[in-house]
Symmetry: C2
Subunit: 349 residues, 2 copies
């Protein structure tokens, strides 16, 4: 608990004075005031996080991988062994996230925080396994409080280390067959929603699997009962990768490094982190609106607006990687554009 | 007229068989079917244009610059001299488009197709001036038929030359103080709309200027009368840069090079080009939804869905440059992802 407490205590809000100064700078660049739209908001918030000028050249994607006891209930279109196989695919370079990380110039770290199996000699996967998969959330808490904290600290310490090493933009991704089920359960527990109304098709399940998934979320919530503290919800319903990503969000805020959130799973982790400290949200950039059924609703309840809306529903950090290009654009525009004076351009008439 | 006729005659639709094969390839990559959303549509359409595998590494942005007689009526927030000043800013590297072109790795060509002034010795601007500004559309056709064709051919031949030189993705941008006025007039003439209901604030004009702008569009349409042929509308209401960009769209389709459209002005040019040949649209990618009032409506009437929606309203090709990153991502995913077989990943259960 000590590392988490220390990180939470270190969080300060984004610097409002610096953000106002950033907007003043943006207003004298050679363009109509406000005409770069959300890129101007991005640049100003990055200045509020990092100081001026903002920069996101050194990007690091952390993909947390874990299995889920609830997967045995047939809630996914893929067998659980795919979790381990995809972890290997990430480091071998053949997954979508691998390709987009190369395009973005982002380093890619794959962390086994709870794969249900041994990885053998596969090079390049960071071993930080807390346990082999969560317990089945229909019948038991997914994690003990201790296991949950341990997973949080895996993400926390890794992100703090990246920040210390000079990374200036973090991105998170997830992999875990079945993990839209715990993420949906977390969303329902946070907001008192009905599983039948929000449960979606994840990787693309048929109607029978969807019925099993709704049933699993309902059972988990009935067992969970009225516990409302974010860490209770996380341990009871969450996945190990979701807990680790929650730790990354806390670390990003504590070390004042912008963090790009991906889709449905990472948003569930962000939602927990935002309840743990009121200023975590200052440091988060929501990369995209996923096609998963209730992601749009989750984002609305967090009062955040995603950058992209491309009908994607893959996870892995793919949406975050694409959105990071927009943060990079915002930084470059802030740093490299001429002012009306330096560019020899007349101000408005 | 001969170069335009030859290009129109050369246009063939995107290859439906190749697109179906592309979707079959996308379906065996290591991801749930369809989970990359619009990136899969992009990849498949690029295959339909270029063949497999698709590639957009060599990108060229063409920014066409021209002045507008109607600007003297006070329809813009900026003085007309800004057109020439911004052309210089583009080539000196200080404009938003300059910055984003560097980020995208795109070459940038600035073409004077009708600046109302002499550029002197400013290096790097391509001189293809058809005339110094259009005539005031409130009292006269903007261009003679001959001038309009000449401007179209400037864009057409430049784009054909880029395609012959091996460019595999074209982008267009515009600069011309006052040019949302002719673009709005074109939109109204194409669709029979009321200027008061669609005219927007362009670079950010106040209510008095907006009233002048609505009045100018109304006068132009009253003078224009019932002419409906796309080239008549273009010559009567259009700008020189809009005509040149229309030529680029025709050339892109004729030479089977994907073209990324930017915002409001370039969409008006695209709308004209799409009326000149039914398959031009196969080769166009609409980069973003601009914040200019009626851009969303223009896109809907064209039945196209923009890639980005970031509240931008700058022109210059800035939205196209950001969107090109998504085309590049789609190509890389298509080319570089493992298949379920090669990646050692189990298919759905």
């Amino acid at each position: 608990l000590a590392p988490l407490r220390a990180a939470l205590d270190a969080i300060r809000p984004a610097d409002a004075t610096a953000m106002a100064a950033a907007h003043a700078h943006l207003d004298v660049l050679t363009k109509p005031v406000g005409s770069l739209g959300r890129l101007e908001e991005l640049a100003a918030r990055l200045v509020g996080i990092q100081g001026a000028p903002p920069h996101v050249a050194r990007k690091a994607l952390l993909i947390f991988v874990a299995d889920h006891g609830v997967a045995s209930r047939g809630v996914s279109a893929f067998p659980a062994e795919v979790t381990r196989q995809m972890a290997c695919n990430f480091v071998r370079g053949g997954a979508a996230a691998s390709v987009l990380a190369r395009q973005a110039g982002a380093s890619l770290t794959v962390i086994d925080v709870g794969i249900d199996g041994e990885l053998g000699s596969e090079a390049g996967i960071l071993h930080a396994k807390v346990r082999r998969a969560t317990r089945d959330i229909c019948v038991s808490d997914a994690l003990t409080e201790q296991e949950c904290l341990q997973a949080i600290v895996v993400g926390l310490e890794l992100a703090l280390a990246r920040a210390s090493a000079g990374v200036d933009c973090l991105l998170v991704g997830d992999m875990g067959i079945g993990n839209t089920t715990p993420a949906t359960a977390i969303f329902c527990a946070l907001h008192g929603l009905s599983p039948a109304e929000v449960t979606g098709r994840g990787t693309g399940i048929d109607d029978a699997a969807l019925a099993r998934k709704v049933d699993a979320v309902e059972r988990a919530l009935a067992r969970h009962g009225p516990r409302h503290a974010p860490l209770e919800i996380l341990a009871s319903l969450g996945g190990l990768e979701i807990a680790a990503i929650t730790g990354v969000a806390i670390a990003a805020a504590a070390s004042r490094v912008p963090l790009v959130i991906d889709g449905f799973i990472t948003t569930a982790a962000a939602a927990i982190a935002m309840q743990l400290h009121p200023h975590v949200g200052d440091f988060l950039f929501f990369g995209h609106r996923s096609n998963e059924r209730s992601h749009a609703g989750m984002l609305e309840r967090l009062e955040v607006k995603p950058l992209l809306d491309l009908g994607m529903r893959l996870g892995e950090g793919t949406g975050a990687l694409l959105a990071a290009h927009l943060l990079d654009a915002a930084c470059r525009l802030y740093r490299e554009m001429s002012t009306f004076a330096s560019g020899g351009v007349s101000m408005r008439s």
